[in-house]
Every structure is written in structure tokens, then in C-alpha cells.
Assembly symmetry: C2
Homo-oligomer: 446 residues x 2
């Protein structure tokens, strides 16, 4: 009775798709085991906002060189997706940055436009002249926590900050004040400066894990402590060097942070920050209704493709939600159980993201129908005849050298680009399923 | 005085490479802000063990089809890296799985060999006959927590478990008992079954986030609670569907878990589990000495390349440690500060992983010296003349279609494979730096 390979399909009670991840508790009320912790009175897991920084942090990614047209296309796509704020590179960075900032402000997007500047009056004047809805000011650790440690020059810092903050506020736009490298900073210095700027009346203060090494419980403690010191909102910025950027963002919200900095695919300095898609996966598991009410998740893949093309990277095979294997189940082990009752092994519903569940698309191609399934999964539209053509191309290259999933995707995309001048047809509906040999018996999963 | 783009190089005190991430506290003793939390008396952050499951969980990855030779090559590489346990697919899965399991047991590796079976006497008999050092038994949620919920058939479950556990123990090898989908399970049922098997005398009990939706504080609470109920070791298994697998593993160790399941590149069902490399990044930030004393980190890249080739995926651009941008800094913004004092913006030291810091290798190729740097970064060895040849090849293909980093890597690897019959030369030492235009002024980072 302990077999795990075929029992779930037979034993699990049928659940409605809308109940994915939601179970009925003993009292009869619905409880989500991955929802907000009822003990967290300050939690903002169910009312967070996003500061989307692909056009600021993302511009610092190794291969990011966005021209004006691309910036505008990305800004529009982000706005359409539903992000609350779009953060842009400082207008003081270059004349191009300044004019691009102005151009994006003039688009009339629903999202508020921010720019990210140094704590300089020159930068502040330039920022407010662009028409942004708010200014994010940052002061680096090396400035006030190393050079000016232990309060030596806190007066000087406070003075600069006051001048910039008052100036920005006098223009009726939002102002945020953030430290840099917050987790390597002296706690007392940090709280002192935050309390000072809170009293002046900033809209929010920011915590930044600039080196990407904070861990979730450390984040929880710092945000809770800060929450007891300031009355303004708290924004958090997490780099992903040690793989915790999504978890840290979630835990910060649990502790009472209000806003999370994200970028598409997480692009940014080094291996980047909390990714928009990864955070969406995390948050939909916690509060599906809130996430679906605010964000157009079915546009996530297109948004990621847009940015991936612009910075010339491939979507990682293991990317949350849109990686080729995120909703792929290997034929045999769980496949039948998944088809019978997806929530058995999968509490994220691919349909929420406009995607289909996928059973084993891989290197052993079984023909054009497998490629057709992949085409659909990529949100591209090709006729059956076109799928047969691209399959022939793939097989031809496969004879020359071994192919991986990225190769297949590249060929499909290239082919699709070639045929987009011809009218497209509607994609077929339903899950993409390859015929596979019967399940290997006795494989176990946990 | 608030500029962040050039000040760090001038202001930051020089630090020895061995002090990366370590700061001197006020009392004069060294404290690591990312180390074990001094309030965690049960923390195993500084004495964890790894159960490496590339050959079990990883075999369930969509495109994994390991033949015997590949399995042996991977097992040897894992052993050489220093993992504590290697977990294999159940010998009951197929005759091939059984004979491969036997073959790996006969290699005489330092790592202990485990296999992962259902709670069946048939499977248990087969497992002990292969010569493994231990058996991991799993019982699925659907069996004991859905069908048999609220203690209805706990006697039956306990009876099967007792029989299997006693049998395995009678052969003098290790035994682990794990639940499946632990975070969607009834807590009382869960603790009941764990206490029962602990009393019989298992070596360890396992918690598994099979659907990949647990969050760190939830993990902390469950592990702490379990720790108060059982006296044996605790093993944790985290899927990465919502991007928290590394953070959950770290937090489980903080709560007193002893062992973490990992796989190379995190490969496994759907988008996989805690990755070996990601966890190494997380743990080296917490306790560099412990990690360096146990694991050969400079073999990480080769190990990842071996597995990536076997399952035909590319290393994700943003992979911790080995992704192309993990130690890449975009010229201009931080580059000079990084060269002057790496710990300013980077507390992971690439040299710990046998890698070099890299300043802006990207799509705008500046010539063969950029390619030479990439070759070195990939741990491949080519002469300058060979680098010029492969650069010509890359530029030729670049005229036909646009190239991304994966394309460049593929061409380099192919070229390298072609020339490996000729004698190799030693790689040049030192950081790889491209000449780049001067830093754009006024870009801000946090
Ligand atoms: Co698993
Ligand atoms: Co940043």
C-alpha cells in the first residue's frame, strides 16, 4: 500500500482547478498551508507592491544595452503586466538616460515612474525636471557606514539627506531613502538614519542586500526591527548571489515590508536580484486571488522573452514558471497522476500563467507533434504544416550535432520570425502530451 | 560625498582575500554578519551533511537518461567533490537500475551509497542485496495522510514501517524514513508517525516539500517542532517551484536539520530541488572554513558541466557561482572598485571555486583576448593562437546570426574538444579584464 507511482490517481479526491493549493480544514473553512502566517499581524503577503527595476538594476546586467525603443517597449509591457512602479536609471548617468527617462514619463502609463539617484542636489534637480512620479535616493555603505561610522559625520549625512528630501517633496512627488549593503551595516547607525529621514517625511525607506548574502531569518529580524522605528513604508532589494532573493523578499513581506524590487528574469549586477516571475510563483502560492487581481500573469512569458532577447540570454531551463521543465513531468513516474489530478504533485496551476502542463518534451524527439507542443508552450503560433517544416529543420541540424532544448527553441523562434509576415492561426488548446512507454515500475518520489 | 560609482575604491580599507565576508567587530573578535545566528543553539549551519541525489531525484528530470557509464562517472565526480551520501534510484525500478546500483556500490567510494525505496519488504530485500550503505524509505501523503488520515490506519502503516525498518537494521546498514508532501500534511499525524519510527531506531527522518511551495519560516517551525519530538537526525528535501529551495535548506539547518538533499544544477522533477552549487554559495557565506574543509569547490564547474552535458541543458546565465554573470561586473559602474577591493560588492570569492572575477564579457566582443578570458573562465586550456582561431569562427557565425553567451560557449567547447588531442598549455593567471570605455558617471547601485 506504499506504492507512490500509481496510487495518487486512484486515491486522491477530485479537486476543482480553482482549489489548487487550497485545502479544506477540519473546521470546514478553507485554509491554504502556503498562505500568510496567521501569527504575522504585520504581514503584507496579501497586499504587497512591486517596484520593477529592469530599466535600472537590469541595465547594470552584463549584456544589457537598451536603446530608447527597447526601453519604451519594456516599460509598456511592464505597465501592461500591472507592476506598481517602474524604476529607471538616473538621468544624471548620461544625456541618453535623461531623455529616455523623460520619454517614458510622457507615455502616460498607469505605473508610477521612479528614478534612482545619488544623494546629490544636482541629481535631484535633474530628476524632478524629467517628470517622474518619484525619486529613489541611495546612500552607499562606504559613505556613511564605513567612512562615517559610529555617528562621526551623521550630522553631515542628515543635512544632505534633509536638503534632497525637502527639495523632492516640494515638487509634490514621492521620495524614498535607502541605504546600501544594509546587512553589513552597523544596526544603530542604520536605525538612526532611517528614523531621521522618516521624521522628515519620506514615503518609504529601503533595505538593500547589495552583496546578495542575507538569509531569510536575518531579513525578518531587520525588517521587524525597522518597522518598529519608522512609520513610513519599507521597500526591500535583494541580490541573488546565494540563491535567496525570492525567499528573502517573501520573508520581508511577512515581516511587514510593503514593496519589493524585482526585475524581469532577475537581471542585474552579477547574477541579479529577485525575479518578477519567481516572486509571482512564490506569491501566487500564498495568495492566488490577490496576485490574479493585480497582475496579468499570462503575459509573463512574453515579457520574459522580450527582455531575454534584449539582453541576449536564454530563459534558464529551471526558471520558475517559464523554464522548459517547470510544468514538465517525466512520462511514467507522475504523469498519469498529474493528468488525473494536477494538484497531487503541482500546486501552481500553469493555466494561471497562460501555459499548459507538459508531459515530457525532451531530447528524444518523437516527431512533429512534440515540436508542435513546444511551439504552443512558447506561445508561438504555427500551423501543423509549419510545425512539420521546422521539425525537419531541427532533425537536419540534429544529424550534424547534438541538440539541447535551447537549440530547439532557437530554431523554432527563428522559423517563427521568418513566417510572421504570413497570417497566424490560433493555437490548439489542451495539454500537450507525448505518447511514452508505460511507467517504469517502483520509482519513488518525494 | 554620496557618489557610489567611484568612492569605494578610494575609501574602503584593504582586506585580505581570506577575510572576504568577515568583518572585525567592535570587541576586536571577528564576526561574520552572514554566519550562524548566535541565538540558534540547535543550528547545524556549521556541521551539515549533503545527500546528493542527482542519480535519484535527478534521474526524474525531464531529459535525464543516464547510462551505466554516465552514472559511474557522475558518482565518482560527486565522491571526489566530497558529498557525504550519494542517493540512487530504487533497484526495484528496473533491472538496469538494480545492476547500476550494485556497480556503484562496488566502486569503493568514500561517500556512503543510499537507495530510495517504497515501504515494501520486496523493495527492502532487493535494496539490501545490492550492497548499499543505507536505505531511504518514503511513504506518500496519499497513502497515510489522505487515505489513512486521523489515525484510522496508523496501526497498519506503523506495522509496515516496523517490518521494513527492522529488516534493514538487521543488515547493519542505515535507514531513513520520510513522508512525502510534508507541508500539506496533518501535523499530528506527521509527528505521530515520526515518533513511532524514531522509537524503532531509524538513523534519520525526512521532511519533503514535494510540491515546492514551502516558505522559510514555515520550514523553521516544522523542523524545530520535529526536533522536539525525535532524537534521530533530520533530513530535508526541498523542491524549487517557488524559488525557495536554497533558502529553505539553509533555514532548515538553522532549525536543527542535519542533512540536505541536493542535486547538481538542482535537476529533478519539474524545475528541481536545492542545487549543490547554490547551497555551496549559501553555506560558504555562512561558514567558509567548514565548507572549504569538506568540499572541493574548485571542481564544482566541471561537475556541473558533466551533468549539464548528460541531460543536455546549458548552465543558466544566472546560476549561482558558475553562471556567466555570477562574478561578472559590468565595466564602468563597479568594475574599478571591484578590482581595487573585491569585498566591496562581492563577498563570495571566485578563487574559492577555482574561478576568476570577470569584468564584462558580453555580446560586444572586442577581440580574441575577450574570448581568451572566457576560455580561462570555463576552465578550458587553449593557446593564444588557438584562441585567435576560435575567435575567427565565432565572428564568422556572428555575421550570419546574432549570438548569445551560450552560442559562444558552445563554439569554444566544440573547438576545445577538437584540439584536445594536441598538448594543452597552462592557463594564464589573474583576472580577466576587457578594456572598456570609462565609467558612465552617476549610475547608482544598491
Ligand atoms: Co523530490
Ligand atoms: Co542592486
Amino acid at each position: 500500500m506504499c506504492a507512490t507511482d500509481n496510487a495518487p490517481a486512484a486515491n486522491a479526491a477530485p479537486e476543482k482547478p480553482s482549489n489548487v493549493g487550497v485545502e479544506v480544514g477540519h473546521t470546514g473553512e478553507q485554509t491554504n498551508p502556503y498562505g500568510a502566517n496567521p501569527a504575522d499581524f504585520l504581514s503584507n503577503v496579501s497586499k504587497f507592491q512591486l517596484i520593477e527595476s529592469t530599466l535600472r538594476e537590469g541595465e547594470q546586467f552584463a549584456s544589457a544595452f537598451f536603446d530608447t525603443e527597447t526601453k519604451i517597449e519594456i516599460a509598456k509591457a511592464l505597465d501592461d503586466f500591472g507592476v506598481d512602479y517602474i524604476e529607471l536609471t538616473s538621468p544624471a548617468a548620461s544625456e541618453q538616460s535623461r531623455s529616455d527617462c523623460e520619454a517614458i514619463c510622457k507615455l502616460g502609463l498607469k505605473a508610477k515612474i521612479l528614478t534612482h539617484i545619488r544623494c546629490h542636489m544636482d541629481d535631484a534637480r535633474l530628476a524632478v525636471s524629467t517628470g517622474v512620479d518619484g525619486v529613489d535616493v541611495v546612500i552607499g555603505t562606504s559613505q556613511f557606514l564605513r567612512q562615517y561610522s559610529h555617528g562621526k559625520d551623521m550630522n553631515y549625512i542628515a543635512q544632505s539627506a534633509v536638503e534632497v528630501i525637502e527639495f523632492v517633496k516640494s515638487h509634490g512627488i514621492e521620495i524614498r531613502f535607502s541605504s546600501e549593503d544594509s546587512f553589513r551595516s552597523d544596526l544603530v547607525d542604520l536605525l538612526n538614519i532611517y528614523r531621521t529621514v522618516d521624521k522628515i517625511g519620506v514615503n518609504r525607506v529601503g533595505i538593500a542586500d547589495t552583496v546578495g548574502c542575507a538569509n531569510p531569518r536575518q531579513v525578518y529580524e531587520l525588517v521587524r526591527t525597522l518597522k518598529s522605528v519608522v512609520s513610513c513604508d519599507i521597500e526591500c532589494h535583494f541580490h541573488n548571489d546565494t540563491g535567496c532573493a525570492i525567499a528573502n523578499a517573501y520573508t520581508a513581506l511577512e515581516a511587514g515590508a510593503n514593496l519589493i524590487d524585482v526585475s524581469v528574469l532577475g537581471i542585474g549586477e552579477r547574477n541579479g536580484i529577485t525575479s518578477l516571475g519567481g516572486l509571482m510563483a512564490r506569491m501566487i502560492a500564498a495568495d492566488r486571488d490577490y496576485v490574479l487581481s493585480k497582475y496579468k500573469l499570462h503575459k509573463l512569458r512574453d515579457l520574459e522573452n522580450l527582455v531575454a532577447d534584449a539582453v541576449q540570454v536564454n530563459i534558464p531551463f529551471n526558471n520558475p514558471i517559464t523554464g522548459f521543465c517547470a510544468f514538465t513531468h517525466k512520462a511514467g513516474i507522475h504523469a498519469k497522476a498529474i493528468l488525473a489530478n494536477p494538484s497531487t504533485y503541482e500546486i501552481l496551476n500553469p493555466a494561471d500563467f497562460g501555459l499548459t502542463r507538459y508531459i515530457h518534451f525532451a531530447n528524444r524527439l518523437t516527431g512533429w507533434n512534440a515540436i508542435k507542443s513546444r511551439v504552443d508552450q512558447l506561445n508561438l503560433h504555427l500551423t501543423d504544416a509549419q510545425c512539420k517544416d521546422v521539425t525537419a529543420k531541427i532533425k537536419k541540424l540534429g544529424d550534424v550535432r547534438s541538440l539541447n532544448i535551447d537549440d530547439v527553441d532557437s530554431i523554432i523562434r527563428e522559423f517563427h520570425a521568418d513566417v510572421t509576415s504570413t497570417p497566424t492561426v490560433a493555437a490548439t488548446e489542451g495539454p500537450a502530451v507525448e505518447d511514452e512507454p508505460a511507467a517504469k515500475k517502483a520509482k519513488t518520489e518525494e
